[in-house]
Amino acid sequence: MRQIKRYLRSRSRIIGSLGQPLLFLLALGYGFGSVFQKAGEGNYLNFLAPGIIGMSIIFTAIFSGIEIIWDRQFGFLKEMMVAPMSRISIMIGRTLGGATVATAQGLIVLLISLLFGFHPYNWVLIIPAIPIMFVVALLFTALGTMIASLLDDMQGFQLIMNFLVMPLFFLSGALFPLQGLPKALSIIAQLDPLSYGIDALRDLLIGLSYYGLGRDILILCTVTLVFLFLGSYFFKKIQI
């Protein structure tokens, strides 16, 4: 299973996908900055940065989960499926690999946001933020794997993008504070696992939390386990 992780990493991966988070960070960060400040909430760029880190993680993570569809299309999945390894370790290996890549992506975005004026309130707390990023990455890679195991063509892919990834991102409080939201939106945000991930990151990086760090971690880990379980269940059922 490690081997697969290694393979996933060694794969020539283009990190050109950094463009979008950067655009969000700069355009929104500077664009909404003044409004945010007037509303008395402080520096928007600081508030936004953890959200954008979360965004780049969820995008990369779900995409690497979904790579299974590509592998199916190009036939490589068959090679994996006849290999003498349990389906679970293949799935876990892929997920760990994907999550590692997504975490790296998150770290790069973190570094970039530091360049553009993001100030964490305590530098040491960046270190515990990394495992949180990894758990978030794991969660969404497992989700991606699960979805990809159920789909068998690319057509479903756009659908996932529009109806899953985008809402997960926009409703997670990545872009706005969760305080004082309309009731319906607040309930939806509570159902979105990414909310807790970003909340936890925000707690560690800028000392601002809505749900509380303990609850964030608890929910993140539970949901991750559930998705890993479901992901391996559906992966096991893939027949070619």
Partner: protein
């Protein structure tokens, strides 16, 4: 080496493989022939643990692919009908990855990978990405990869499709040698009858999910009173081009999709 008894596979109400039984001996070269959509690939998928049978029993190298998939997977190599390489990796990396997946010890893996890549004439290109390869090169690489872990049995699903006669001959010469020296059992499907006639020691013909004839190529010819395997094949399976071929595969695909959800 392979024993199959009353094997059946249904996709919903469509019977792809209908109660077939056959066996392949240790060290034998066995050809599995049939028109498109006859059930060849489905049978191979069941033998190689990719599909689970609806009914019947399989033993492969004395183990059951359903109950002991990992032991069975270790004992065979397979070359699929369509490519199954990782395009983003180099030829060498594809070999390496395969070796790691099959737990081949480091030193042996490198030696064997080198030997096989040289054999299929890809040694000079070992550091090129697979996506730059032509169809024939990919096929050769796949054959090399399937042999990397010294399988006791190798499945080849239309391995020579799209290869030029030079490569085809070269490949069969190597496989025959492998069969002679290491006793590797070879199970293959093909649409080239002369290939089956020349290479296989025993042949089974499947049509509409049933085995309609089996034996040596001489048996099949005398059974049908024909002069070549091609004629025997046509005598057994009929001359009509299969209109229902597309249908049955489509149905199979549809059934599979419905079943999967």
């Amino acid at each position: 080496m392979i024993k199959v008894k009353n094997l059946t596979k249904k996709f919903h109400d469509f019977v792809a493989v209908d109660n077939i039984s056959f066996s392949v001996n240790d060290g034998e070269i066995f050809a599995f022939l049939g028109p498109n959509g006859a059930g060849k690939s489905t049978t191979i998928k069941m033998l190689t643990t990719l599909l689970s049978p609806t009914g019947g029993a399989i033993t492969l190298n004395d183990h059951d692919p359903v109950r002991e998939p990992d032991i069975v997977r270790r004992s065979f190599g397979i070359v699929f009908q369509d490519p199954s390489l990782d395009d983003e990796l180099t030829a060498w990396e594809n070999m390496e990855l395969h070796g790691v997946l099959y737990d081949v010890p480091d030193k042996l893996r490198k030696e064997r990978a080198e030997q096989l890549l040289k054999f299929v004439d890809l040694w000079e290109r070992k550091n090129s990405l697979v996506k730059e390869f032509s169809g024939g090169m990919k096929r050769r690489l796949e054959i090399a990869r399937g042999l990397l872990h010294h399988p006791k049995i190798i499945f080849l699903d239309e391995p020579t499709l799209g290869l030029d006669p030079q490569t085809r001959n070269h490949m069969w010469a190597y496989l025959k040698e492998l069969n002679k020296n290491e006793g590797t059992t070879i199970f293959f499907t093909t649409h080239y009858m002369e290939e089956a006639e020349r290479i296989a020691q025993r042949i089974a013909i499947i049509d509409h999910g049933k085995i309609i004839a089996s034996g040596t190529s001489a048996d099949l010819k005398s059974q049908t009173k024909t002069n070549s395997l091609e004629e025997a094949f046509l005598a057994l399976t009929g001359k009509t081009i299969r209109e229902e071929t597309a249908n049955s595969t489509d149905r199979m695909r549809m059934g599979r999709q419905r079943w999967r959800r």
